[in-house]
Symmetry: C2
Subunit: 344 residues, 2 copies
């Protein structure tokens, strides 16, 4: 049995615990939080960030609170890269795409003379990415189209089960932030519906979001390519086409939220300028609202980067957060643990 947020939320406590028992130990969530006996956020230091989270949740959920929000409206949206899992030294989905280029190379002899593939196949990542966004778009397109959705799911499944991070040598699905796993579980235990709203690929994330984050496919929102409904040998399939359907980043995040959820979130969580509009959108509604930025400040246990980083740049959003009084998580000081296995 997989543990979806709905499963956790809909069944009795016995089922919750038996479901959790099926999870790998690394991702064990603080089950005792359900009972109120233990600290629901044990990997968070007792700093202002943790206090702000708990205060917000209590204000919108405690019976009798003037700020009480009905469960159906307790919508929380989370960015993925850099917010729920790491994104250095390159976005993990790009690492997947690069691995796929290598795997597919024998079928594409023409890539030997064609950038960005030629450099990539010679092991020159820097040269391959010199073409900037256009090069990345081409790499993502050839590795994310030309197959059915079911075939793609299997490809990602195989990769996520075996590929390892170049620095930590851990599975990518282990490079998730333990404090954020606890936060997801804490919100769900308080009647929130948790959504991922990421610039990452929707079909890519859905392969592991339920197992790793407890977020089911229908609550995972991301960028997507066009799909074509076709009959193949008389059987219906959805073909992944080499054309962008939706870019779920920056201005696209509030749009994706409206299309998929149809309600304004009351809480949003991000880490970069790509999340600014989502956080502004969550804050724009009436009543008590919560916006949080994860600030990567721990070069030792994770990575330290912000205003000038090419990956996960946090510049304008940091200014807005400071001006508006949003919660900014200082990873180094606010988080007791970074990854379930500790730090890098």
């Amino acid at each position: 049995m997989t543990v979806s947020s709905d499963t956790i939320f809909t069944m009795g406590r016995r089922t919750i615990l038996s479901g959790l028992a099926a999870l790998p130990v690394l991702y064990a969530l603080p089950a005792m939080a359900q009972t109120g006996v233990a600290d629901p956020l044990p990997s968070w230091n007792d700093t202002a960030s943790k206090q702000a989270i708990v205060t917000f949740v209590e204000r919108v959920t405690k019976a009798g609170s003037p700020d009480l929000v009905p469960p159906a409206e307790r919508i929380a949206t989370f960015d993925n890269d850099g917010t729920l899992w790491a994104e250095q030294p390159i976005y993990f989905q790009l690492a997947f795409a690069l691995d796929r280029v290598k795997a597919l190379a024998p079928l594409h002899p023409e890539w030997k003379d064609k950038e960005p593939f030629a450099s990539l196949l010679k092991g020159d990542l820097k040269g391959a990415l010199a073409g900037g966004e256009a090069a990345i778009f081409e790499i993502v397109t050839v590795t994310h189209s030309g197959m059915t959705t079911v075939e793609f799911e299997q490809i990602v499944q195989d990769w996520i089960a075996t590929a390892r991070h170049p620095v930590t040598k851990r599975l990518y699905s282990e490079m998730v932030y333990q404090p954020m796993l606890e936060l997801l579980a804490y919100l769900r235990a308080n009647g929130f519906k948790t959504f991922i709203v990421s610039g990452g690929g929707i079909d890519f994330m859905r392969v592991f979001a339920e197992r790793v984050y407890g977020v089911p496919p229908e609550q995972t929102i991301g960028s997507s390519g066009k799909l074509d409904f076709e009959l193949r040998d008389g059987k219906p399939v959805l073909m992944k086409m080499p054309e962008l359907n939706f870019n779920d980043d920056k201005n696209g995040k509030p749009v994706g939220i409206q299309i998929h959820i149809g309600r304004q979130p009351i809480a949003a969580f991000g880490n970069s300028d790509g999340d600014l509009q989502m956080l502004e959108w969550a804050r724009a509604g009436a009543g008590v609202r919560f916006a949080l930025l994860v600030h990567h400040t721990d070069a030792e246990r994770e990575w330290a980067y912000d205003r000038t980083s090419s990956i996960g740049r946090l510049d304008k959003a940091l200014d807005v957060a400071q001006a508006e009084g949003w919660t900014v998580v200082d990873m180094k000081n606010d988080w007791k643990t970074i990854f379930p296995f500790g730090g890098k």
Copy 2:
């Protein structure tokens, strides 16, 4: 409190009953079904259609059944027009658009000389619609764009609370099929997550889908226009743009299901050729699957139409259903009651 499927599904029986008590009597769902004491589908005659539904639900939900499906995968998708509510003499959303053209006419003096508006404003609906799909598209576009999502929601809210059907003089939200309301509740009581997947407008349906069908916004999928995230007087808004984003009909239905849900439904419900691909997609997965067509056969209590109707044409899908042994509901003989208030 509104009763969403999640609310019903996640809380104890006491909450279910107190939630139902808040519903208008017309839409009272068979609460006793939860206990197995009463018939969960009292408005269905005891015919093959009802038996097929119950047999399917028991096969995929009964503990120990070899065909048991985990709750997270119990996805059921429903068309709206002609499946959950009526669609004659014109699609209800088109009736909304026509009313809006009349309301907006004073702001558009140029419409007096411009089709399809000129005919429409003279009361000549037939003349206005003579332009076919292009005319309808123009009427829908001018009435569904140029405002924020919040403003549009209020406009639909006002309309659905007051506008009345030309034949029955009932509110449009009363023109829903009582047997289908019972079916939605029966599936949810058995751990299904119910989704609407309609060619109708996503923002339009979401205004009433939760109250009327118990389907929350995030489980309501439909056609949509492009949205633009903008600042208006410094406040973020989503503007509805005069451009099609997604057409959730025919081949678009399996595509919409993949984008929004990310799982193949195990049961799908429709009434027209526009639903054929959705039903085929639901049936294409492994294991026990269910496909149902509502066949409009009751000219007295509702309307009788199928192969040659310009609205809700049921021709090719009827052939496929008969060839493949799908369940085809004969409204006249299978349904004890049509609308909560009886029949037209």
